[in-house]
Symmetry: C2
């Protein structure tokens, strides 16, 4: 990824035309487009190829299967010119390693999710998953923008690996907080795709990111 | 599902023609076809509609996202006439409940996986995940055919919920052991789709299942 604006827009829509328009509208202000499973099930992987012509695409597929199946999923994703894929860490080292080995781009491991249900089994092992991500050579991790203290703690674990933080906007996180806490990118969905002017909203968020990033804070 | 042969064949191939031929060849001996993510990424969800005309389809998508995304995935799966979907439990109650609420068919929750990496974080919480599956009203759980003792232990937890057991054949499990231990269905992939005569192999396995099921053992 270019790491210019530090903003990733989540194309959490299910219409192809809407996804493509959103990508075209916001491309000047985002470093990557994040695509989830519902959109791909509805529109097929051909949409990834189309989006990849507009900008960098990260497939947020939360890959969580046995090593061989993970490998096949990752193969397919990069065959369609994605630049990155998001995979789960809790399935264990062999499954994550299979993704990293198969990837022709960045693998991001979900360290910690932000919904209430994640408190029970995911949150207690988030630090260990982050260590696993480092150990297997992943490009980075996913950590919740809604919990800047956790972003900070995970930054201390992953060193110079990338941290991508979803949950900004509709889920309650601010653009500034995760950046100040050490995130490399924030992921914004609804606040952009539901905005009357997605391009203007994306621009506004990049300004907030830039301000937060300019604030000198020890990492 | 019809619960006739208690055999589910995993269509773990990536060619549409091969998947359809395998389904047609084996349909008289299987209760359902299991489809995984690589096949759907390669061929699209239209293949699910085609397979659904041959027999019951279970989408093994290992769904593991936040509740709203899970709901959208489940919606899409049943829109294409699948009869069941396999989801992860570790993401927590809200995520699993979102699947059950959205499903127009059976939701199976992965209680325990069989690859080595699952020993670390999945195996220790398998019993709790099984209890969660019961609590949210899932149709059943996934438990490894390679570990009949675990199938037996999970049976004691889930009562009359269904247990589907993958790992028979190439991964080392026998058809008889998980059935004797209390599984309702066994899932067989490679041993059938790599067989010279998949139909004959499926028939052979159903005979082994029937023999094991006829052996009276206390549950």
């Amino acid at each position: 990824m270019r790491r210019k604006t530090r903003l990733i827009v989540a194309l959490d829509v299910t219409e192809e035309s809407k996804a493509l328009r959103l990508a075209a509208d916001t491309k000047d202000y985002v470093d990557a487009f994040k695509v989830n499973v519902p959109l791909v099930l509805a529109r097929g992987m051909g949409l990834i190829d189309k989006l990849a012509k507009i900008g960098d695409v990260i497939c947020d597929f939360k890959v969580a299967d046995i090593p061989n199946t993970n490998r096949l999923i990752v193969d397919e994703v990069f065959r369609h010119h994605a630049k990155g894929i998001i995979v789960h860490g809790f399935v264990g080292e062999d499954s994550v390693r299979a993704c990293v080995d198969a990837a022709r781009g960045d693998v991001f491991v979900v360290a910690e999710m932000s919904h209430p249900g994640a408190e029970r089994w995911n949150a207690p092992i988030a630090d260990e998953i982050a260590r696993l991500a480092v150990a297997v050579g992943a490009a980075g991790i996913i950590a919740p923008a809604t919990r800047p203290d956790r972003v900070k703690a995970l930054r201390a674990i992953v060193g110079d690996k990338l941290i991508l933080s979803p949950g900004v906007g509709a889920q309650g996180g601010t653009p500034a907080d995760p950046i100040t806490a050490g995130a490399d990118y924030i992921i914004v969905g609804r606040a952009i795709y539901d905005a009357e002017n997605p391009r203007a909203e994306a621009e506004k968020i990049t300004r907030e990111i830039a301000r937060a990033a300019a604030t000198p804070l020890p990492r």
